[in-house]
Symmetry: C2
Subunit: 233 residues, 2 copies
DNA sequence: AATACTTAGTGTGAAATTAACACTAAGTTC
DNA sequence: GAACTTAGTGTTAATTTCACACTAAGTATT
């Protein structure tokens, strides 16, 4: 079998986009940017950047995430190559897309307030340039599957969280309501959660404070590495 | 956000490789080719080809499959982009890989005997050039997941097949033994199988012939389209 | 015709998991 | 201390999963 490239074949450009998920306690959100410069100036897009000829798309995606969020330590995973022939006036571009999950804390929110990035509810994604809506849809399917099989949700939660928060996160990711009692039972049985002795008021109106949990990092890591069936089909 | 390409960035080559799965009744196999021409002449590789600047990798992969097997109608699915920076002396190449499942019938086997392609047992894959072993591993994981969630296995079986054959296929794909009684029960309950009134002898020594089943195409298609939880976690 | 041989095909019960369901507990505010 | 709001808790029935071993059918051999 012969696989011969001619000079004409080396004219593709590489880009990477990242779908960055955050959870504010009520809703699952992703980061959207506004494009500057032609083509599609002013259009909404996923955070994206060029991958230069000597770069690994994953490294570039991680660096992009660091530039946006200030940290490169959020988990990131490849989604796919989006390689359809679409017209970008400058030439053909293949997009290697990633998705990541991060803890949407206040500091991060404030930093981003003064930036070109906006958190958008996943149920309310505007039309995006290129095929970026396709990438978002793809990442949501992936997140849904991951959440079912692995305790990946934790990377979206703050260090300490209430049962209601994590349940709400699962509901957002899966797109359906879950039974409170069954959810708690299932989660506690996994033994991934550690009770803390902290409590919070969930809202101004709330009377009884709710207990805060954190997760058992060691157990979490070992379960994340090997393929463990977590909660919810 | 600014995403600017310079001319220097449009120097990537695109290739596609396909992992084509076949099942001969006993073992799950994939097609391996031998590379002609530098680099890596003589090395084993996945069936691969250049994607020209104006082509969609999926179309190219389908055409490649047609060239090899004589038919473009086998199901094919994208795996991923394998985009690490590895040295191909002619330039940087990003590989968009696919996997497909086909019915390994006798006609096809004979055609391929006189070709450069060889069926290789999935448990016995030789070292391949580039990062093709990585692609194969990735495709096996994918197949494993698919087989668990969808009745995808059928595309690997002949029109009519025995319970033992389909069980063996599942065992190969999942890499573990399954209980005969439980397997049959589960599969029959799915109502995807139609009994035929045909029988075969499974081997020369076998005495009692086994019943042949086919699958209910309509039901199969509807279950394949929506996300249906099939057999085996 | 009887026997031996080989693979096909079948059922049951225990254990675990899932799913549905509604009330009491705790703490705050008025 | 009463009212309010959200937190937190148990049980039961239905379903699914898993482990396990014998009989049935047809062919070949004598």
């Amino acid at each position: 079998m012969r696989v011969n490239f001619s000079n004409e074949d080396f004219k593709v450009g590489l880009a990477t986009s990242v779908v960055l998920y955050g959870f504010d306690g009520d809703d699952l959100k992703i980061l959207i940017a506004e494009k500057v410069g032609e083509p599609y100036s002013g259009a909404k897009i996923l955070p994206s950047t060029v991958v230069h000829i000597d770069e690994d798309p994953e490294d570039v995606a991680i660096e992009l995430m660091r530039r946006i969020t200030g940290s490169a330590d959020w988990p990131i995973e490849i989604l796919n190559a989006f390689a359809e022939v679409y017209r970008n006036p400058s030439g053909r571009v293949v997009n290697v897309a990633y998705y990541g999950t991060l803890q949407l804390n206040e500091a991060l929110s404030e930093d981003l307030l003064r930036s070109e990035y906006k958190w958008v509810n996943v149920n309310d994604i505007p039309p995006l340039a290129f095929d970026h809506n396709k990438i978002v849809d793809y990442s949501r399917e992936r997140l849904k599957r991951r959440v079912k099989r692995r305790p990946i949700g934790f990377s979206l939660l703050p260090k300490e969280f209430t049962m209601n928060q994590i349940q709400r996160l699962y509901e957002c990711a899966l797109g359906r309501d879950l039974d409170k009692r069954n959810f708690r039972r299932k989660l506690l049985k996994s033994e991934l959660l550690l009770e803390t002795d902290h409590f919070v008021r969930s809202s101004a109106k709330a009377r009884r404070p709710s207990a805060l949990y954190k997760f058992d990092e060691k157990k979490y890591r070992s379960l994340t590495l090997r393929g463990y069936d977590f909660v919810y089909q």
